[in-house]
Amino acid sequence: MIRPRNRKDLSFGIFLIVVGIGGLLAIRNLNMGSILRMGPGWMPRALCFLLLLIGAALGARSFFMGEERVTAVQARPVIFTILSVVFFALGLPLLGLPLTVFGTVLLAAFGDYETRLIEALGLAVLLAVGCALIFVEGLGMTVNLLPVGLF
């Protein structure tokens, strides 16, 4: 069996195909209309077909190209960055701005291999205070400064 040599293009091609199929499923109940009177589903469907076509072309082509692998995914940066943003999304309505900023920055900082704990803590405090000043006092953002439930 011929093995795909260009993994990079193959995975991107598969991604596009998945999106195309997902799109077609999501719009299956929409009125398509005709090219003269386009319904809401016309353009999305046309684009999904294009995605499938391009994805298939990339996939097919990947079997014939030179070896190209995707550079390894390193867990630490990805995981900590995701964790930090999720923490922010969940935390802000509950914990108020300064605490959330503190947690977000701390988590994000650990995504870097060269981070040291003292630096990260200091940065987190600095940004927590700074953001509270800039965004709430300065720009008037409507968000709690203190955790819900206190006071």
């Binding site: 809401p40 353009m43 999904c48 960055t81 994000a108 409507t142």
Partner: protein, 502 residues
């Protein structure tokens, strides 16, 4: 002609208002900062500041964002010259001869040349825009839906052609962008499309969250994978001025670079980076001593530096006259205009002349501010060069989160930010440039609308795009561009150019 002078003058008056001066300075400062610090580019900075522009007056917002763009061209040269690290994509070429000059003890003259060449280009480009934008806008007003559709196709093709990575991948990104733009409520019938029950999606994916996700968060994740090594030139900078010899050799190069940048900037897909590459190639070709290039030839510094500034400024022209963004950062500006409720297009010049002329005139002021920021204050930037990435990337993360949250005062856009952050990381792994996706995302609704109208006009006959002359010629140019890239000879040179850049 007098129209132009009158318009420019009123624009200058508007741009000189204290509020606008303040934001111009802020933009120039942030731009220089972003340009100096590798790991964060002007696209990310503009994306991060988009939520803030909501609170500003439209002119102030655009002046500031524009200042960031061409300011980053100034700042990027500083890192390139002193640390051989391009602070910005367009400064890649500056690393070649600029760093060599610095290595031979001529860092001061190198920095001065870069700043002065950029100033020359900036002033020239401002007047260039003032002269060429109005007639172009008048022509565009005669466009019908078929012409607009073809123009947008041309714009997208141009960005595809100039995107790094394989053409097919770039095409995939563009179609993906168009597809993502259809999520939300259909304008004509009010039916929700692909909103999956989320009422927050009824307005579609928020462009700002998408842009920040792909550029800011995605960048952070990619950058964290590589460990840094930055070696700044030791020793003094020398006098920050240039000798008569330098002037004699550098000025013609700067002039040529300015022309090249001004021309290439207008083309859809054009901008700072392509201009600087082109200028370097031209200078090397024209020089009587091409072997000197790469060892500190001043033409190799003055030309590209002028070109990247001119290119950055003139790349506003398609946006201001046709309503078509020509690269990712201009697409973000279009997003900023939309946030303010202004639809970009040829009508802007007539319905909002102060905005149009004020923005153009502000570039003059901005360039003057930038020379001051870059030359006398150079010491500040040099010390900033030594700040390690791990100390400022968390700020990028938190600003993106806060910015996303502030879009609807809820966490929903933050999740969009996250999803597109992961996607942005994936795109980097797949070596797909995000610019086609973002441009297509912005143009998507217009593309669909114009296609629909064109089909209504022609009663479902697709040949309208080739029977109407303007539309046909636009599509022909698009086809030529595609062929030019697909044909082997040019494709090799294009791949070489990108490889050299890495």
């Amino acid at each position: 002609m007098f129209d132009v002078l009158g318009g420019f003058w009123s624009g200058l008056m508007a741009a000189s208002q204290p509020e606008n001066l303040l934001y111009c300075f802020a933009g120039a400062l942030v731009g220089t900062l972003i340009g100096v610090l590798p790991g964060i580019g002007p696209v990310t900075a503009v994306a991060l500041l988009l939520p803030i522009t909501f609170h500003l007056q439209p002119l102030a917002a655009l002046i500031m964002l524009a200042g960031i763009y061409y300011g980053a061209q100034y700042g990027g040269s500083t890192t390139a010259i002193l640390a051989r690290l391009p602070g910005e994509n367009s400064s890649i070429v500056t690393c070649l001869d600029g760093f060599e000059m610095a290595r031979r003890g001529r860092a001061g003259p190198a920095l001065a040349t870069a700043a002065l060449a950029s100033l020359f280009a900036g002033v020239f480009a401002t007047f260039f825009i003032a002269l060429f934008a109005p007639p172009l806008a008048s022509v565009a007003l005669m466009f019908g839906p078929a012409e607009y559709f073809s123009l947008m196709v041309l714009g997208l093709v141009a960005v595809l052609v100039l995107a790094s990575g394989s053409l097919l991948s770039a095409l995939g990104m563009a179609v993906l962008g168009l597809f993502l733009s259809t999520i939300g409520m259909d304008v004509n019938t009010g039916t929700p499309r692909m909103t999956m029950g989320f009422f927050e999606l009824s307005e579609g994916l928020d462009f700002v969250a998408v842009a920040m996700g792909v550029y800011a968060i995605g960048d952070v994740m990619s950058n964290l994978e590589t460990r840094e090594g930055r070696a700044v030139i030791k020793g003094g900078l020398g006098r920050l001025w240039i000798t008569m010899d330098d002037l004699r050799q550098g000025l013609p190069a700067a002039f040529r670079g300015t022309i090249i940048g001004s021309m290439l900037g207008i083309l859809p897909g054009g901008g700072a980076m392509i201009s600087s590459f082109a200028s370097y190639a031209v200078e090397k070709k024209l020089s009587r001593t091409p072997e000197k290039f790469g060892t500190g030839a001043i033409q190799g510094l003055a030309g590209p530096e002028a070109a990247n500034n001119a290119g950055a400024q003139t790349s506003f022209i398609p946006l201001l006259t046709l309503g078509i963004p020509s690269n990712a950062i201009i697409a973000l500006m279009a997003g900023a205009m939309l946030i303010q409720g202004i639809q970009p297009g040829p009508q802007v010049m007539h319905t909002d002349p102060i905005l149009f002329w004020g923005l153009i005139a502000s570039m003059l002021i901005g360039n003057a501010m930038l020379v001051v920021i870059n030359l006398p204050l150079i010491g500040v930037w040099v010390s900033l060069l030594k700040v390690p990435y791990r100390l400022f990337f968390p700020a990028v993360v938190i600003f993106s989160c806060i910015g996303a949250y502030s879009l609807t005062n809820s966490s929903f856009p933050v999740y969009i930010l996250l999803i597109f952050g992961v996607l942005g990381y994936a795109f980097a792994k797949w070596q797909c440039e995000p610019a086609p996706l973002l441009l297509a995302f912005i143009l998507g609704p217009l593309v669909e609308e114009n296609l629909r109208r064109a089909m209504l006009l022609s009663r479902g006959d697709p040949s309208i795009f080739v029977t109407r002359p303007i539309s046909a010629s636009l599509l022909a140019v698009a086809l030529l561009l595609l062929l030019a890239v697909i044909l082997p000879g040019i494709r090799k040179r294009r791949d070489e150019a990108f490889r050299e850049a890495q």
